[in-house]
Subunit: 394 residues, 2 copies
């Protein structure tokens, strides 16, 4: 087990009707805020009105910036920073999913630091300063509500880049599973895939003797799979209990707890970022394509330790029997079951399912190693990335 | 799933050599502190010297109060409060296990509030104010290093009473598994039992649809059992990996994360407190006696839902097969395996193993319901407590 520091100060307020507490939580930090969201379903559902009522009751004023899109854009972040500075807002309240929260984090960074905010994403500099961020979550997926991560797309490029900065961790996040009833099935599935990927990125590690967190990762994955099946069964979309399990799992998957003492991989996220940057593939959908290909490539490489790890994943998460006879066969069966699960919830598992053009594989493989090799479980160079993209295109 | 608020701000610094960071963490909160510990093994091992060196290097002064005993005493707490007030200390640094940390929390409460500190433990009043507490953990057991709990014994009585106050949650805790190599086997076993009990108290709930946390509880219990077996195997006491799993599990078991959305039981802790108050039974040892008896009594009561839950526990944690044929038989087999596990690590499982006089059962049963019925999984009155103590005496 690696030495580690674990500290997650986000206050999670979870359950039915909890969005009514947004005013009383916000006023602990700010009298005037930037309210940041898509302006679409958040408004149509009446959620933004309820949030404004709660803010008003608590005596909190707001400026408002709508227009957040999936794969949130740098241009909107820049606009947000300007508003926050002009209007003297002292907290950014994101309402939505990972895109809104990631965008709010970027605004919080840009508003608290001089110079170009993209520098942080472009790894030119780092910082300990950000305005406080709060969130009301409507899409369980990214876990951004209690993570230190923010991923932004710079339209000049396009480049999709992420930062992990503790100063951006939200001070509070409100999670009401009822708000997720009306999520389109496709977005629900993308979210399920995203949180599973967050756990799998942590699960596939070379670090020996991380038994407690192995168990927690496997248990969380099983709970996600079971409850996703409930939501995707007839009438399941309004099942509070299943929605609640998925919503809490989405936060737990990425709050740093499941990787204490471990070194995660994260190559699949990098590989996926190129799909979303070039083809605007939804993040979760891209991961459903990449993860099976990444696992298959790892098996092909033939390293016994790696194959055994994937066999364990197959046995513990996907209930595959027979690992004692043949690790490789069990590992492949696990991937087969994972692909079938992704398909059963409407996710693509190959490039052709998501209109991704295989002709751009060389370009994507080149871009993905822009900062050097990716991945920790196995270090991947450009040629490895090419091979994985090819497996995903098959 | 119940609505919940989850927020745990303790900074955990985990791993080899981490006690050298105590000065730099402490100085973030205080220039002068109360250093609080047993004065026994903490000194003999050289740990206190290393801590003083680190404090000195960071420019932190200290007053010192030694003499913490298992089941920490109110009289020492009162002494600590006086020192803190006289010497104007602004943080209490506990070095030791749950006793030292619980005692430090009580001092932190007493120093920040007027009036008698015992009032908080006697449920006469509550508070949001406490001085900051830090800890260097040497016994993985109580989980007090990141919990809101503190249990103190008032020698007038004696009464053992606990509080759960968020203001007492340590601001930082340093966990170096190497410090636990020299723990006597008995204390290691008590700690293992204590952390298992913390998880089991949360696991046995009536709350339906808490699948994620069910999985996390079961996984944590399996990891504890496996790694305890390593420590108790030949030469295992210096196995860093197993010590690390156990130490992290001890914190995780009681940091509030595993009971999000659930209502725990906690009757067994109350039943055990009477053993420790009257017979000075070690907390963990008492739990090893009480928990099997409590489970058996629950099975005897014959409620189908309860028996099914214990059967699940037997299947998932103790690997018992056959639950589909007969829940009750599987449940009993699980308890049998749990008792054997406790015995294998040197724990008592009956009153006679721990010199507890069954003649005092009526008195203990009366005392345990002093504040009313105990337990949430099943509410227990005085007669139920008597029956459970009798099962423990059999």
């Amino acid at each position: 087990m690696q030495n580690f520091v674990y500290c997650n100060k986000t206050k999670i307020i979870f359950g039915k009707g909890t969005e009514s507490q947004v005013g009383s939580e916000t006023v602990l930090f700010a009298k005037k805020i930037l309210l940041h969201h898509s302006g679409g379903s958040t408004v149509r559902s009446g959620l933004i009105d309820r949030i404004k009522t709660s803010l008003k009751e608590a005596g909190v004023e707001w400026a408002e910036l709508t227009g957040v899109l999936p794969n949130p854009r740098l241009s909107l972040v820049r606009k947000g920073i300007e508003i926050v500075k002009n209007e003297k807002c002292s907290l950014i309240l994101a309402v939505g999913g990972g895109s809104a929260i990631d965008s709010a984090k970027a605004i919080a960074l840009g508003a608290a630091n001089e110079g170009d905010v993209w520098d942080f994403y472009d790894r030119k500099r780092t910082t300990n300063a950000a305005l406080p961020v709060g969130s009301v979550v409507t899409i369980p997926a990214a876990g951004s509500e209690s993570s230190i991560s923010s991923v932004i797309t710079n339209e000049d490029g396009p480049y999709k880049r992420g930062v992990n900065l503790p100063c951006t961790r939200p001070v509070f996040s409100i999670l009401n599973p009822e708000l997720t009833y009306t999520l389109p099935a496709y977005q629900t599935a993308c979210g399920v895939t995203d949180m599973m990927a967050h756990i799998m990125e942590r699960y596939f590690t070379r670090e020996p003797h991380v038994e407690l967190t192995d168990e927690l990762c496997e248990g969380a994955l099983r709970a996600i799979i079971r409850n996703a099946r409930v939501i995707f069964s007839a009438g399941g979309e309004n099942n509070y209990d299943a929605r609640a399990e998925i919503m809490w799992a989405g936060a737990v998957a990425h709050n740093g707890f499941l990787d204490t003492g471990r070194i995660g991989d994260w190559a699949s996220h990098a590989l996926d970022h190129e799909l979303t940057a070039l083809f605007e593939t939804a993040h979760g959908a891209g991961l459903a394509i990449i993860f099976p290909a990444w696992l298959k490539y790892n098996i092909q490489a033939g390293e016994a330790e790696v194959i055994k790890r994937i066999a364990r994943f197959a046995a513990k998460v996907w209930g595959v029997d027979g690992a004692f006879y043949d690790y490789k066969q069990a590992a492949l069966e696990g991937i087969f079951r994972m692909e079938n699960f992704f398909k059963s919830i409407g996710m693509p598992v190959r490039f052709c399912d998501a209109d991704i053009d295989p002709a751009r594989i060389p370009e994507m493989a080149k871009r993905v190693v822009h900062f050097g090799p990716i991945g920790q479980f196995r270090k991947l160079e450009e040629k490895d990335a090419q091979a994985i993209y090819k497996l995903a295109a098959e």
